[in-house]
Subunit: 448 residues, 2 copies
């Protein structure tokens, strides 16, 4: 006896054969998918405790956000329309050093998870501080996450030294890594903000426990030029020279890459987390995604933190990725809709090394999926399911979300989170921040 | 006695002083705004038949879509990931010639209006065929529109000759132009698809009735190069040479413009309808919006038809415009959030010559506004209202829509349109189209 059968729905599997059932069904038992296929066959073959007729809906794998900093929701809209360096050093780092507290991290994470669940994300890969607190919120809310304590060459909000940060990381790996939905990984912030020794130590720790290793790489032209000047290497060349590039590495951004860099990333099996909206908003540039894909590099989609996006909506990000690379390549056939859906689902799973567990709807995989309500004007007509998802569907069309076999959102109600009072608490934090510091977007207006 | 007071809401006016009330109110009588201001003052000064406490909501001017082809919703997703010329000549024109019928135009318009009302648009400027039928749907649904019969140098679906199209246009101007929400204007498709004589005759007709004149201009590099070769002018230079550029002209796209072209547009008072998502998706290029703004050209935002977007959501379009020009200018301070909101509201009104009637919330103007539900995770915290609107808010956050003083959507229910059965009818049309012709996005996948 299975636990749940969802039938009579459109089912997009994102399996290796791109199976799409116009009238399909999914069978779930415990935390796993038992079967996926034609509704008629499934309903004749299985019995379950609960049967849901999902007619008029689309079931697909939950989206995977391969790069974000979820507690930064508290800074949403705090500093916009600024260059990255000024944004980071004059606004974000100072405000983080004062307001990234244990309580605010929990609050920001809660808001972020509400936003992600409501817009179709079922797994996120995070680099931040106080990740024990983030893990607690992930545990409670039913979300799936890969979490890493970001180490950096100056005192972090919860670590006086980077060595302390690494000790915390190791402790948390041991604490959490049996959890069915939580993976603690390791991060070094970036080649420009971490010493070579720190990057190497962090990578050693990641390898010791076979967990992902995250690092921001080649996000801006300034970083690229400074690496050439300071190290005599491109950022990728520098990391390769340190010996830290291998197949558990997720390079966030990868905007400024030479053809040799792309070759190195492909040969070492490094994945790239692509954040098109953040890269556009901060005028960082365009990551060479078509070239990376052609070289065989695994690509995942990310939003980055909301302070630079300003949301966690991967449906938006899919649309932007698809149209940005067409423009940038001067070729509207580039990054076709199916490729984009692939990047946002099974591609992201591959980037995180989790392709055997999540990213597609296949028997034996974890039951992570989203159910979209297609009874919306923008969801009609349907000629091609990938086009519809990338160019028309919105995060708000996600009606229900299942993670690890459990509904975590049903009919737009979050089941493991009380949103009452959450927005008020967030606005209180914002009020404190506003009282202490000038809001950059207001300052910009006044400059005029 | 007023008809309606909305109080206790955030109110963004987009008036010339950018007045924003954290606790504001709007007074409506008949089709007009009577007053806007602090909630306390308003509620003490006015009485109305209906008082609505809009606490937790944001009231702002309805968005204005300055370039679209609404009946093309029936082709949403029919031909994606293709170059513009192939898309237009091999897919769109053939399928239009067969399937753009009176019935399908009505159906597609209905779907489009449902989508626009649900995502915050209260006025749209359209170029298409069978506009008498479009006007009927606009009339019934409570929408506001500027509509034009597109003339072109080959038989249009409802006009055997372009001259016939112009006669239809004149007849419809006389039929509809006393309507409080409908303006019939005149369009010539593009310099490459209309003879010089046709463009001039169309402009004469627009001037005779003092209505807007729409034309696609300089959308692609191919068009730009062909104009240089064929006419010895840029597209803008060519039109200027024909003497048809003046302040009732709305140039759609304006992607490939020389500095001289920008000067001409500014001097003649021509407005540009900017369609960033369509231009990206078809790899047409990036319109020089910062330069056009600097030259004093009125800019409105548009989606273009959904066959090339693939939606009618101006909140998406605002976000894309803001981040695209940052990237393209290599300057993240370009097109700040407030400028983008301006373009989507009062800027669009100016582009259509309707700035005294719509585009901002001010006493005496038409009561066209949208009410957004901010009780959403992505709507918090609020540091800067323009940042929130451009970078975080979604079309789906629009809860109610008022046009000409009347609720046309209330609590997400459309009041003058029955959506029941609409999607089914649309899917039936799509089925007929699919049976007759190969769906381009499927053909693309098969090519691989």
């Amino acid at each position: 006896m299975a636990d749940l059968i969802l039938h009579n729905a459109m089912v997009l599997t994102m399996d290796s054969e791109y199976n799409f059932y116009e009238k399909g069904a999914v069978v779930i038992k415990g935390d796993r998918i038992v079967d996926v296929g034609e509704s008629e066959r499934i309903t004749a073959s299985y019995k379950a405790i609960e049967h849901i007729n999902a007619s008029g809906k689309l079931i697909m794998p939950g989206l995977i956000n391969t790069h974000t900093h979820v507690p930064m929701t508290i800074f949403r809209g705090y500093a916009d329309d600024l260059p990255l360096h000024e944004w980071l050093y004059d606004y974000i780092f100072p405000v983080e050093s004062e307001f990234v507290t244990l309580e605010n991290v929990k609050l920001g994470t809660k808001l972020a998870i509400a936003e992600m669940l409501r817009s179709g994300t079922t797994t996120f890969n995070d680099m931040y501080y106080y990740i024990d607190a983030i893990a607690e919120v992930v545990d409670r809310t039913g979300m799936r996450a890969v979490l890493s304590e970001s180490v950096i060459d100056f005192p972090a909000p919860n670590s006086p030294t980077p060595e302390d940060g690494l000790r915390t990381a190791e402790k948390l790996i041991n604490k959490w890594n049996q959890h069915p939905r939580i993976t603690i990984s390791v991060s070094a912030h970036a080649p420009y903000s971490c010493s070579a020794e720190l990057i190497k130590s962090a990578k050693v720790l990641a390898d010791k426990y076979s967990v992902p290793f995250n690092i921001h790489v080649a996000e801006t032209r300034r970083e690229f030029d400074a690496a050439l000047e300071e190290f005599g290497f491109t950022p990728v060349g520098y990391l390769d020279n340190l010996g830290v590039l291998s197949d558990n590495v997720i390079a966030a951004h990868g905007v400024h890459l030479t053809p040799e860099d792309i070759q190195i990333l492909a040969e070492r099996g490094v994945a790239v987390a692509h954040n098109p909206e953040c890269n556009m908003k901060l005028a960082s540039g365009v990551a060479p995604i078509p070239e990376l894909l052609a070289a065989g590099v695994n690509i995942g989609l990310g939003t980055d933190g909301v302070a630079s996006n300003n949301d966690l909506d991967l449906f938006d990000e899919m649309n932007t990725a698809a149209i940005l690379h067409k423009l940038n390549s001067n070729d509207p056939t580039v990054l076709d809709a199916r490729t984009v859906v692939e990047i946002a689902t099974i591609g992201g799973a591959r980037a995180l090394g989790m392709q055997n567990e999540i990213g597609s709807l296949e028997p034996g995989k974890k039951a992570d999926m989203i159910i979209l309500d297609l009874m919306q004007p923008h969801a009609h007509p349907l000629y091609n399911i990938y086009s519809l998802l990338v160019y028309s569907i919105k995060g708000a069309d996600v009606e229900s979300t299942i993670i690890d076999g459990k509904f975590v959102m049903r009919d737009r109600k979050l089941l493991f989170m009380d949103e009452d009072g959450l927005y008020e608490k967030i606005e209180n934090v914002a009020r404190q921040i506003r009282e202490k510091s000038i809001v950059a977007s207001d300052a910009n207006l006044k400059k005029e």
